[in-house]
Amino acid sequence: MKAEGTMIKTEELQINIGPQHPSTHGVFRMLVTVDGETIVDLKPVFGYLHRNHEQIAEVNTYLQNMPYTDRLDYFNSMANNQAYAMAVEKLAEIEVPERAEYIRVIMVELTRILNHASALGFLINDMGAWQTPLAFGMREREKILDLFESTSGARLMCNYFRFGGVVRDLPPDFVPRLQSLLTGLPTFIDEFERMLRENEILRIRSEGIGVLPKEVAISYSVTGPVLRGSGIPYDIRKAEPYSIYDRFDFDVPIGTVGDVYDRFLVRIEEMRQSKRILEQALKQLPDAEGGHINPKARQNIRPPVGDAYTRIESPKGELGFYLVSDGGQTPYRYKVRAPSFINLTPLSDMCRGYKVADVVVILGSIDIVMGEVDR
């Protein structure tokens, strides 16, 4: 599509970024057509990590699916567990005791901090800083993973939630260690911000890059920090408060322009809000003995015929589970609404007109995990 006549014939180059590439966050390929340095068109290609998750789910019983949900967004296994557990509880009408709800909120908010800390680390890494911000982010992530290990037994594949509560109660040393983590967190976030927020090089590389205007964000049904970066204050924990999120007060950070810099600042602000929620949850944590699970809840359930869709605010966006039960032990249909997959769709529009070096930064700012995209 070139204007005729005086145009200087420039040859369009097809560059393949990925699937095996240092900065594509997992196995993901982008076929980029480039005119000189600017990008004309970008075709994302994925499916390399497809593991037939939803078909396996239809063969397994409801309980047996729980460990598989850890492997969806392998960064936030607790958030996936919560979404799935809430979907089944809604389907089979199982109540969750108070203490279990608080434990769940604590775990998911810890996952949010861990996810944003490492997502920002990877984003700055794509911009070229040699792993120093990532090393700081990973240090905080290690601390949180130690807490997960002492409660659920595994660092990444926690498999900690059950229908009606959680597997086992918090270990005795969990609360004091979490409190010391929360005291240490502000130094990490302030240091991260002090190091990078005003940094000229970071501003040049991220201001005005990968702009996703409001209307386009809504039309692509993008959710999570990407949507809030474009300036729309939509957070499911506020818009449709599930579990006990209506008992905590926290703010919803939004950006103005919707570029990489806004999404960077929104994620930093969200880490602070998660810290606020954690502090309130720790104060209100009821210490009912054995309150971590509803005793009457049976794990091998046969939910009555019907369907249920629940959605939670996972660190990457709106994570939804749609379950259809035919009364049997295995779900008839099991669908996951993966936020990374939906947030990935506007990538081609967001990258058009920018330089090749910006593609990787824009992809990093969307923060995708291929396990969730390909399922």
Partner: protein, 446 residues
């Protein structure tokens, strides 16, 4: 070096060796020394870098091979030797083989001009600085050859960017060095270092205070701005963050080094690290007084040199050791600053890098030349009857003149710096500029 050998052979051992034999021996010793020291420097630098950047990231760095990981570079070297050297079939065999040599050879040339201590230099060219930068521009040709010979799209793109970056950052590097040449009236590196002795830049030796060798150029505003611009240009020349576009860019995998493996890759690596060492060395030589430091001149006055051939060679050795210590300490401090910057900053995009170079660094260096000429004018010009106002300042090289020049150039340089930063924050293309482009017919809406 030659006079020491002459002294040792003739006076000490008494055999009157012919002139050319002495020169031959001293030069051959110097060359073997350099060819031994350079790779060792490179090995230590890789280890130094990995340990330093590890500590910045709260980790330990290599500590398994040998005590405290000392032999890690040796292990890397052995690995490089044993790695298979893959040459792409479609590659241009000869050029692919020659490229690393053309990149590494000039770097060894540049060592010839670097003085490690008082009297310890391989050759004292009276155009030393110019030689240094002339030879460094030859490696750009080597990069071009590597990029082209690998017959790989990424390598070609990377080579083009690398050469564009090196050529476009040579300009500010040379101009900011020209300022120092103006101050010292000579391009010979040895005389530049000797000019930085004493206490103050204006070679005004205050009575009673011995020559502490602290008269470095960095202490004058002209030198300070020159240092800032030169160090930025050195970062770009040595492809260090935030300018390491060609080497580890996220979209062109490893730039011009993509198709190289084994020992050829190690040669590129060697050339890059030695270039970084040399750029730090030149920064230290021109702005921080090379091997100058307290105690050097006192030792050197008693050593064997043209000034007093009857000196005791022991002092040569002592002065040499102290000089080398100062020189290496400063150089490794600046290499640490390079690592430090690498640990803290992200990378610039190619067009931003070029824009930064041409719109920020080069204008600053030109302003610096202007303020340097003012500096020289104020301090050195003799009394001129019709320039009455100058005589008010006292005779040349006087303290008053030096103070006045200091203040004036400081104000000019700081003003230039802030103005440049203000100008360069140009916002993105506004909508009406877009519309204007549309008039050109170039903007087509989909």
């Amino acid at each position: 070096m030659a006079d020491v050998i002459n002294h040792v052979l003739n006076t000490m051992l008494g055999l009157n060796a012919p002139e050319w034999l002495i020169i031959f021996i001293s030069n051959s010793i110097a060359v073997t020394l350099i060819f031994a020291i350079a790779p060792l420097q490179m090995l230590f630098m890789t280890y130094f870098e990995r340990r330093a950047i590890a500590r910045m990231q709260d980790r330990l760095g290599p500590n398994r091979v040998g005590p405290k990981g000392i032999f890690q570079p040796v292990a890397d070297g052995v690995k490089m030797f044993t790695k298979e050297d893959i040459v792409p079939t479609a590659a241009d065999k000869m050029v692919h083989l020659l490229a690393p040599c053309v990149v590494a050879a000039p770097v060894m040339f540049m060592f010839a001009v670097i003085p490690w201590g008082p009297g310890m230099y391989a050759v004292d060219l009276d155009t030393g600085l110019l030689f240094f930068f002339a030879i460094s521009s030859v490696s750009a040709v080597g990069l071009m050859m590597a990029g082209w010979a690998s017959y790989n799209k990424f390598a070609l793109l990377g080579a083009m960017r690398a050469v564009a970056q090196m050529v476009s950052y040579e300009v500010p590097a040379l101009i900011s060095i020209a300022v120092i040449v103006m101050l010292t009236n000579s391009m010979s590196i040895v005389s530049i270092i000797e000019a930085q002795s004493g206490l103050f830049i204006s070679q005004v030796d205050v009575a009673g205070i011995p020559d502490l060798g602290l008269g470095w150029f960095i202490f004058s505003p002209v030198g300070l701005l020159g240092f800032i611009c030169f160090f930025i240009a050195a970062l770009a020349e040595g492809e260090r963050t935030p300018f390491d576009i060609p080497e580890a860019d996220s979209e062109i995998v490893a730039g011009y080094m993509t198709e190289y493996s084994g020992m050829k890759f190690a040669l590129f690596f060697l050339a890059q690290y030695l270039l970084n060492f040399l750029l730090c060395a030149i920064t230290v030589i021109t702005f921080f007084g090379g091997w100058q430091g307290p105690g050097i001149s006192w030792l050197w006055s008693m050593a064997v040199s043209e000034a007093n051939p009857a000196g005791n060679p022991i002092f040569n050795v002592l002065a040499g050791i102290l000089g080398t210590f100062y020189f290496l300490a400063k150089t490794y401090f600046f290499f640490f600053v390079m690592i430090w910057i690498r640990g803290a900053f992200p990378r610039l995009r190619v067009d931003q890098l070029m824009g930064f170079g041409w719109k920020f660094v080069i204008p600053l260096t030109i302003v610096n030349i202007f303020s340097a000429s003012l500096w020289i004018g104020w301090i050195r010009w003799e009394l001129n009857p019709d320039l009455a106002f100058l005589s008010a300042l006292g005779e040349p090289y006087s303290f008053a003149r030096w103070g006045f020049a200091f203040v004036a150039t400081l104000v000019m340089n700081v003003a230039a710096y802030t103005l440049m930063t203000r100008i360069n924050r140009s916002p993105d293309e506004t909508i009406d500029e877009l519309v204007a482009d549309q008039v050109f017919g170039a903007v087509t809406l989909r």
